[in-house]
């Protein structure tokens, strides 16, 4: 019985230690054509859970600039904060937004879309350029 407990604990540790790769699919970013791209500020902090079970918080007043779009939605790059997704490895990420909801991430190095199974609402205010 004691051996079984040790084996079970070791198995749990092994599973916890072997995080899976971040789920992603190739995606082509169509850059925004605007000379002055739209920029936004997040009004309230938002907490969300990545599919890999890592938790993330987007702080209120995080600023974004719209860099383009992919098939899944608009792509917003944070300018005063860092966004990452994490599984076996960690990747810089931009927010993919559709209907005012964060539905996933665009990974600029991998040129891929990584979906968020549980999308969260974002309250974004557009910043007016002078």
């Amino acid at each position: 019985m004691h051996r079984f407990k040790i084996a079970a604990a070791a198995a749990c540790l092994a599973l916890a230690a072997c995080a899976a790769e971040v789920v992603r699919q190739p995606s082509e970013l169509k850059p925004t054509a605007d000379a002055a791209p739209r920029s936004f500020v997040l009004r309230d902090s938002v907490k969300y859970m990545l599919d890999s079970r890592y938790e993330r918080v987007l702080r209120g007043y995080t600023q974004f600039v719209e860099v383009g779009s992919i098939a899944q939605g608009r792509v917003l790059r944070p300018t005063n904060a860092v966004m990452t997704v994490e599984g076996k490895h960690m990747h810089e990420a931009y927010a993919v937004v559709k209907d005012d909801r964060l539905i996933g991430f665009y990974l600029p190095v991998e040129r891929s879309f990584s979906p968020l199974s549980q999308p969260v609402s974002l309250t974004l205010e557009e910043r007016k350029t002078q």
Binding site: A17, A81, V82, H89, M90, V109, E110
Partner: protein, 147 residues
């Protein structure tokens, strides 16, 4: 009892020796060269924690060794703009990917996590404000700087 005391002293000495011992950031700040407009800069640092202090793996940037992850240490690398891949290896490989723009500065923190046999060192991209603040007490472990 005497043996236990000796072992404690030896392990404490080893842990202290494992920490970075270069000049503090404030001492070298004025000697850090200005960033060339055609390049970006990446600061690598690790908090001064005793946990896993003996674990000091190499840090690779785009496949090339650029330094080691030392507790309480920091160094920087200037690189051509574009996609970057940071990798650390202990019992497993841990990678971080991010973009670097011309004239841009980014901060990569390495942290110790639990592994099956030994600890693991995780590279993490952090906000610039966080990186600047957390590096304040760090010691410089990079290439000698011109004064």
């Amino acid at each position: 009892m005497k043996l236990l005391r000796l072992a404690t002293i030896a392990s404490t000495t080893a842990l202290l020796a494992a920490c970075a011992s270069g000049p503090k950031l404030a001492e070298v700040k004025s000697s850090i060269p200005a960033l060339k407009p055609s390049e970006g800069r990446i600061y690598f640092y690790r908090s001064n924690s005793m946990m896993g202090a003996a674990l000091q793996p190499e840090i690779k940037l785009n496949g090339k060794v650029v330094g080691n992850s030392k507790p309480g240490g920091f160094f920087f690398v200037d690189a051509a703009p574009g996609p970057q891949e940071v990798m650390t290896s202990t019992e497993v490989e841990k990678k971080l990917t991010f973009t670097l723009g011309a004239g841009e500065t980014r901060y990569v923190k390495t942290s110790i996590g639990f592994g099956l046999m030994v600890g693991r060192v995780y590279p993490e991209l952090v906000d610039n404000a966080v990186g600047q603040k957390e590096m304040e007490d760090s010691s410089y472990t990079g290439q000698p700087l011109k004064r």
